[in-house]
Subunit: 454 residues, 2 copies
Amino acid sequence: MSVVSLLRDALGARVDVSEQARREARADRSGHAAVGLPLAVVHAESVDDVQQTLRIATATRTPVVVRGAGTGLAGAANAGEGEIVLSLRRMDAVLEVRPDDLLAVVEPGILNADLNAHLAAQGLWWPPDPASRDISTVGGNIATGAGGLLCAKYGVVRDAVLGVDLVLADGRLLHLGHRSVKGVTGLDLTALVVGSEGTLGVVVGATLKLRRLVPGETCTVTATFPGVRAAAAGSAAVTAAGIQPAIMELMDAASLAAVHALLALPAPTPGAAQLTIQTDGPAARAEADAIAAILSAHEGVPVVSHDPVEGDRLLAIRRSMHAAMASLGTTLIEDVSVPRSAMPAMFDEIARIERQFDMVIPTVAHAGDGNLHPNFIFEGPETPPQVWAAADELFRAAIRLGGTLTGEHGIGVLKRRWLADELGDDQWRLQRDIAAVFDPLGILNPGKVFSPDA
Amino acid sequence: MSVVSLLRDALGARVDVSEQARREARADRSGHAAVGLPLAVVHAESVDDVQQTLRIATATRTPVVVRGAGTGLAGAANAGEGEIVLSLRRMDAVLEVRPDDLLAVVEPGILNADLNAHLAAQGLWWPPDPASRDISTVGGNIATGAGGLLCAKYGVVRDAVLGVDLVLADGRLLHLGHRSVKGVTGLDLTALVVGSEGTLGVVVGATLKLRRLVPGETCTVTATFPGVRAAAAGSAAVTAAGIQPAIMELMDAASLAAVHALLALPAPTPGAAQLTIQTDGPAARAEADAIAAILSAHEGVPVVSHDPVEGDRLLAIRRSMHAAMASLGTTLIEDVSVPRSAMPAMFDEIARIERQFDMVIPTVAHAGDGNLHPNFIFEGPETPPQVWAAADELFRAAIRLGGTLTGEHGIGVLKRRWLADELGDDQWRLQRDIAAVFDPLGILNPGKVFSPDA
């Protein structure tokens, strides 16, 4: 009996073999697509659906690619020839919210923004705030360790997950982690699952650590600078001064020009770069004023706004970056992260790579935490070799500066070629062997992360 | 050639075979001691010393027990017959402090308090704040996932470690983690090492995530309650009201009486329990007042102090708990952690166990995060069977309430018997198999954590 027949016997109409569904599951938002068509898309509606799918996959040695909303940027959820796509998008329930314990238990398929709308009604929020929050799932945020705009002040995904329910490749269900603030019982497998990109198991539930909505006003500081290096130095000066904004976003001249064009705003001053900074909490106003003073002393021209509507409007410019890039051509969005003090040096490296390869690399950065997104724009579906060559220079520069290949997008297929460069061969093998303890047959997302031959 | 001869050839006078050193390495602060005497204590002074020791251990299949200051409370660093003790206490350098990147790179043997004194001079601190901070090492804090008083507001150890340098059982050195705020390159092995209690490798260096010293005053609220359940309900009401104190400590009547006796303070009201709460940051004063109002509405009699010296004096009562217990006899300090809302129910369970076993169990709690330390007091060096029977009831009650065996002390030898009860057999085996990937010969801390036969 074929794999598809077995799946249909077990799961009925939740097995989708339409060409459209299989075609859509080949690609994510990275622009990259897998080769060939997957066998079927299973739309799981329960933990049991997931377990049944994995038991069939194990019995037939069929690879499984887990998928949320397909908004990844590294190809980790792209499914190809001979693979089962296991979609968790329909498992989107909020199972429990406990304001007194500051936790929520959710299914993985809920969108980040939908969860936060639900929580806001109770005065709560879940801090992970990827730029994709309106379209990406909580399960996907966990699988990739998605970061976002608020990490410097409010932490990374790993800090915001207390436990996960994980279905192993053979269909067994494990409950990892705990519901208490503290817990050191054995190894921290919850943290290991965060960012594991579908290689260890299928996250079918998550216990999330919540925060109360921050009381008080939010202030917004925008500042223009003569160039990107000055803007980076300005943001580093804010961090070095001991002020912790909630958000500190940097846009270089090319990014700013593209977004202004997309939104039909007046063209910005040529060459000018911009910081958009938000402060929150009881000291928001004082911090915004202090930040404005620091930026003025670092070649910036700051404007402070206390109007939340105006603040949202100003941040919307930053949030339109992805759409602006997509309007220019096919985009490879990179994701290097460096220590904050190395931000100016990293922008120097980007400028060097632009000259070396004679290309423009529009770059935005989560400047508060040193996470840069350089964008490579090209025509057609295939990433040209010279773009990969320039990206290779970029990765090596980030690692040289004490940084990392990927701050929040993950390795997927697009960066597996460089993974061992950063980890070293010994750690690379150790990580691969740990994944094999979870998935001895190697059926979970094969060819992703630990497959060196790109 | 004997193991000791090999060690001496390689490490000379850093190999200590004195009976005193070997005897001291048998025990930690749990009161529990290993059987027999270890072979030798290696006082490592460099990464190379650690690597050489582990190469000899691997070549001769000799077990290695890593040790910092020996202040553990679960027996994880206790060394016995035929084992090498690898002490990292002399590796206590601060290698780098970067205020602009909010990170420090340190050797593992530095005491937590010494590190924080060093950092304070630059306006910085490392948040993990175990009650043992004056006598415990940073490496030990990392190995156990030590918690402390500040976790609800400032996070657990896992949130405060960006990377570790790890020597594997065979002597290879790995650099795990990163120096940037964000980083999702492969599996998060740094988080896996935190709390792994010497079973995965030897932490020879750590990149720590720092915070700026919190500006503004610290306010202290003490409140007495007619009983421990009322105090627990009061603390839960503070959390439920959305106020986040820096510290919220609870002492029951027996604890309070013991500490007052030790410090020669007037005897407290019989049966009365106490909360000691500190608020910090820009809103410290308003939060303290709001907390006092909540506690008044929950049977508490609060007193607010804005005097930092008085605040230290009030907290010193709580910090004297360990000494007060030690003055009463041999102590088994337990460490269950439950969701905050379950604190009153957990105190009901403790009262039930006290009645059932006809014993007094003085209990303090980090009430802000639901972590309780019930103390069993007895005569002589051996934990009596009825104490283990009562502890068994305690652990099962915590797990039933959605909590965990250990919030911050770890499994060591004292709780390995219960580990599979919490994890389930499947996860227990998975964790053990992951440890075996790091240490295939099983020479790192054998008999600890994953050894079920206590």
